[in-house]
Assembly symmetry: C2
Homo-oligomer: 210 residues x 2
């Protein structure tokens, strides 16, 4: 939990759809439990429902369509320019469906955070709820992690576990995991922004998150 006298860290939240994790982060900021100043909610898709949700709550929004750029690198350079221009220091991905290249990550090194709906390193990539069910694991969950240049390979900040039930579908499992995503993402981001965490190799210690 953040001290209210603490400086708020300027962040961006990147979405591609409804951005339910963006909602949980913005609500945590408004509740005073996440010491962040959300400078922008940015979508690469003009129709993302989360844009309207944010705008209605007075959060600045922006659209940067990847279709307007000839390459990933050009899009990523424009994205970094846009966020730097707004004074953004940390970037939280919330269902942002673009792979980020070094053109972006090099300018926000160690300052991009994502949440993934599986217990990494199990089940990186896409459609992971179905993959977890098909593999036959008895638990899955979610992972908040720093973004590096691999696919879901960055250092882990927090994880939460949920059971997989015999009659689960990908949708029922996704809903159970999402509840935990909404719980731990604000906690994990606050631990990073407030400077409470320390690195030991690739371990992230001191978060205090169960």
């Amino acid at each position: 939990m953040s001290d209210s006298t603490q400086a708020k860290v300027p962040i961006a939240v990147l979405i591609s759809g409804r951005g339910s994790n963006m909602v949980s982060l913005v609500e945590a900021v408004k509740a005073g439990s996440l010491a962040a100043d959300v400078r922008v909610v940015l979508s690469n898709k003009p129709t993302a429902a989360g844009l309207e949700w944010a705008a209605e709550r007075g959060v600045p929004t922006a659209i940067l369509s990847h279709k307007d750029f000839a390459s990933r690198e050009e899009f990523d350079t424009a994205l970094a320019n846009e966020l730097e221009g707004r004074g953004v220091r940390y970037v939280a991905l919330a269902g942002f469906m673009r792979v980020l290249t070094p053109a972006f990550l090099g300018r926000f090194s160690g300052r991009v955070i994502n949440i993934h709906p599986a217990l990494l390193p199990s089940f990186p990539g896409m459609n992971v709820q179905q993959k977890a069910i098909d593999y036959g694991v008895r638990h899955s969950g979610c992972t908040v992690h720093f973004v590096d240049e691999g696919v879901d390979t960055g250092a882990i900040i927090a994880q939460a576990v949920v059971p997989i039930l015999d009659d689960d579908t990908a949708d029922s499992l996704a809903a159970r995991i999402l509840e935990q995503e909404h719980r731990i993402y604000p906690l994990a981001l606050d631990a990073v922004l407030s400077g409470r965490v320390r690195m030991e190799g690739r371990r992230v210690l001191g978060t205090g998150i169960e």
Copy 2:
């Protein structure tokens, strides 16, 4: 929990050392919660401490040293002969430090079970507590699974989760996981032996184990 009128399935438990999971299985049999008849506790190492523990409790023991055989296949054939000669139907591995080849697995197909001290498919192989700590995962645990020809790749019967703490060592984590191993291995084996489980692809359903 097994019905006491149920036929007891003849099993072997294979060890290479103290066999703490063998102890938990034998104690569950004696307590009536695992419907098995332990026909033999067999070690590939003559000095395994678990042999004495079992013998003191009236459980038949045997030694089959891998050093007496020129190849893995010859050892595995002798092992299968030994167990079949004792009427063994299912085989539970409990710290048995030998890779089993098709020469053995082909004769006990779908009837060899192991426990692994990690949440598979994360961290297969050896020294997995240290690997989990070094990777920075926030939870680990143990997995009871059918043995196939891969390394820790077989269908999962049960898993239990434990937290990883900031100050954990491989030893402290191993001890926390071992408590859960001793809890779920008898439950998982009883679910299989009693015929309560059903397969759906590689999912093992119906165990009722949390």
